[in-house]
């Protein structure tokens, strides 16, 4: 029992030593001049590769997208269940049809609710 904890202790010691020694190594190497310091614009840019962002990154989206996103997720889940059912339509038979119909009906209630409450209006 205690020996098992000993292994964990060993790993802990290695982890601490590693995290402490790596920055120290980097610092001492640059102090000794082994690591060259040559700066250029490419190195200091945000992304060394890839596209530069155009415009501000704090773009605001209309919050109505959020309602659409939520309804989309609900219908997306419906699709996830409809596909496997459709593929196995024959084997699942009437029972499968009824199960999917019940599931569909519950989702439709949610959809009607969102509709009547005006979640789909873009005012």
């Amino acid at each position: 029992m205690l020996a098992d904890y000993g292994y964990i202790g060993l790993l802990l010691i290695v982890a601490i030593l590693f995290t402490v020694s790596m920055p120290l190594l980097a610092l001492s190497l640059s102090f000794l001049g082994i690591i060259p310091r040559k700066s250029n614009p490419d190195k200091t840019s945000t992304y060394e590769c890839g596209m530069e962002t155009i415009g501000k990154t704090w773009v605001q989206f209309n919050f109505r997208y959020y309602l659409y996103a939520i309804i989309f997720v609900a219908l997306d889940v419906l699709t996830v269940f409809l596909y496997p059912w459709a593929v196995n339509l024959k084997e699942l038979g009437l029972l499968g049809l009824i199960s999917v119909a019940v599931f569909f009906a519950i989702l439709v209630v949610g959809y009607i609710y969102a509709w009547r409450k005006g979640a789909l209006e873009w005012k």
């Binding site: 029972l95 519950i106 209630v109 009607i112 609710y113 009547r116 409450k117």
Partner: protein, 489 residues
């Protein structure tokens, strides 16, 4: 075949159907009172199905995911009754969220479905799903008033509830990792055959049990997982506070009894170990609840701390179940009877608070001054419920306490009962302070306190329950004993 088992789920399915109907009706009709009627009808139909199944033999359905037994049916009936009383009592309150009444009733029904499933769940996975179903509906309901306090209540409940769920999942993962099974009976089989040793030599099981107790402890609000209670109880709409303190707590106790007794009750050393764990938590819970309740000035906060203390008394029963090691059903039936009496008593107290606070627009105990003259009937009802919470005759609280403490003494938990009795004496102080303010204080105005017939009906049902359970407890005790007979023996 699974389809043929669906008819054993009719209480939940019918209630879910009514919840959907409520959502749809809300969209197309103007008269919102109809929604309350439909909800009540749904609860009655569901209760009818539950009653019809009472005599049926115990059976596990959906590959042992759910158990259909008297224990579950008893709790389902209790939860349905609580939800019905809450909906009746909400009639004076719903004007505060005029626009969202349909959602309110539907969420109350859906959380009731979740809790009913929770009491029947016989598999770690179905327990978790049911817990989340009831939990998520309650998080929304707690923030229903949309003012600052209510939003704070909802957010706190959500965040702490999520943490508790995570802890519970860790516990389940450990138990599953140790036993390789998720169904409670299968876990029991594996745990039973474990080599005889203490829990300390089995750290995985020890940690699993502690994490499970922590996750469920959040639901029943025992120390040290009670920190959400005062804030959530104060901020949430009062009917929801009552619902949380009664239904959510009852479901929590049901699932604890099932998990710990069915899955982890078999080797006696294990059972005694978690029995002692709950005994210690119980002593701390009731002491903290009662002592902190003394300094509260807001009646909802005070009832919140009082419900923590009551959870402490209930855990005396839980500890007895563990220490008694199986066979003996007395401890458990004491627990069920206590839950019954606690449900009617606490609901009654909260319903009276709804009526009074609605008129005076304040939850401060000081503002209840002179209520005995302004609203004598409400004051009498509130007094009766508070007296029952103390545990004085001729009320349900007395019989419940005698019953549960008697079982505890019988199984060698005398020290815990002494702590509990001292606590009951402490609790008399703050309960009676409300009574004193109501009857001896001078009224600030002569205005009467109006209330709807629905609220009065639910309040009188609660008071009737308090008196019936207190004066002729016999048949109710028989019901509670029948409910636990499915376990052990």
């Amino acid at each position: 075949m699974i389809v043929s088992e669906l008819h054993l789920m009719t209480p939940e399915l019918s209630l879910l159907g009514f919840a959907l109907v409520v959502i749809l009706l809300d969209l197309f009709i103007k008269q919102k009172k109809v929604l309350a009627g439909v909800s009540i009808a749904g609860l009655i139909v569901s209760a009818g199905f539950t009653l019809a199944m009472w005599g049926a033999p115990t059976i596990d359905i959906f590959y042992a995911m759910l158990a259909v037994d008297r224990f579950a049916l008893f709790f389902k009936f209790l939860l349905l009754a609580a939800a019905g009383l809450i909906i009746l009592a909400s009639q004076d309150y719903v004007s505060k969220f005029e626009r969202f009444q349909g959602e309110y009733y539907a969420l109350v029904l859906i959380s009731a479905v979740g809790m009913m499933l929770l009491t029947a769940a016989a598999d770690l996975i179905s327990i978790y799903v049911a817990l989340e179903l009831s939990g998520i509906s309650l998080y929304v309901l707690a923030s229903f008033l949309k003012d600052q306090k209510s939003t704070e209540a909802g957010l706190k409940y959500l965040l702490l509830g999520a943490v508790a769920s995570a802890v519970l999942l860790y516990g389940m993962a450990l138990v599953f990792g140790l036993t390789g099974k998720t169904c409670l009976l299968c876990i029991a089989d594996v745990v039973e055959t474990m080599p005889i040793a203490g829990l300390l030599d089995n750290p995985a099981l020890l940690l699993g049990i502690i994490l499970l107790a922590a996750g469920f402890g959040f639901k029943i609000a025992c120390v040290p997982f009670q920190m959400w209670v005062p804030d959530v109880y104060e901020g949430a709409p009062t009917p929801i506070t009552a619902y949380l303190s009664v239904a959510s707590k009852a479901a929590g106790f049901a699932v604890i009894v099932r998990v710990f007794f069915v899955a982890l009750g078999a080797p006696s050393w294990l059972s005694i170990d978690w029995g002692i764990l709950f005994a210690i938590l119980s002593a701390i819970t009731m002491t903290l609840g009662n002592v902190v309740a003394i300094v509260q000035t807001n009646i909802k906060r005070m009832l919140g701390y009082s419900s923590i203390a009551q959870a402490g008394y209930l855990m005396v029963g839980l500890a007895t179940v563990g220490v008694a090691v199986g066979a003996d059903a007395l401890g458990r039936s004491g627990l069920l009877f206590f839950l019954m009496s606690y449900a009617v008593t606490n609901l009654g107290a909260f319903i009276a608070v709804i009526a009074i606070s609605n008129k005076i627009d304040s939850d401060l105990i000081g503002d209840y001054t002179g209520m005995g003259k302004r609203a004598p009937l409400l004051a009498v009802a509130l007094t009766l419920c508070l007296v029952s919470l103390i545990g004085l005759p001729p009320t349900a609280g007395l019989i419940a306490k005698i019953y549960i403490f008697n079982a505890a003494v019988h199984h060698g938990l005398l020290w815990l009962v002494i702590v509990a009795v001292i606590n009951s004496c402490i609790s008399a102080y703050y309960y009676l302070r409300v009574v004193k303010v109501m009857w001896l204080g001078a009224p600030v105005s002569e205005e009467k306190v109006p209330s709807s017939w629905a609220l009065r009906a639910s309040l009188s049902l609660c008071c009737l329950g308090v008196l019936l359970l207190g004066v002729i407890p016999g048949s109710f005790v028989g019901m509670a004993e029948a409910a636990v007979r499915i376990f052990g023996s």
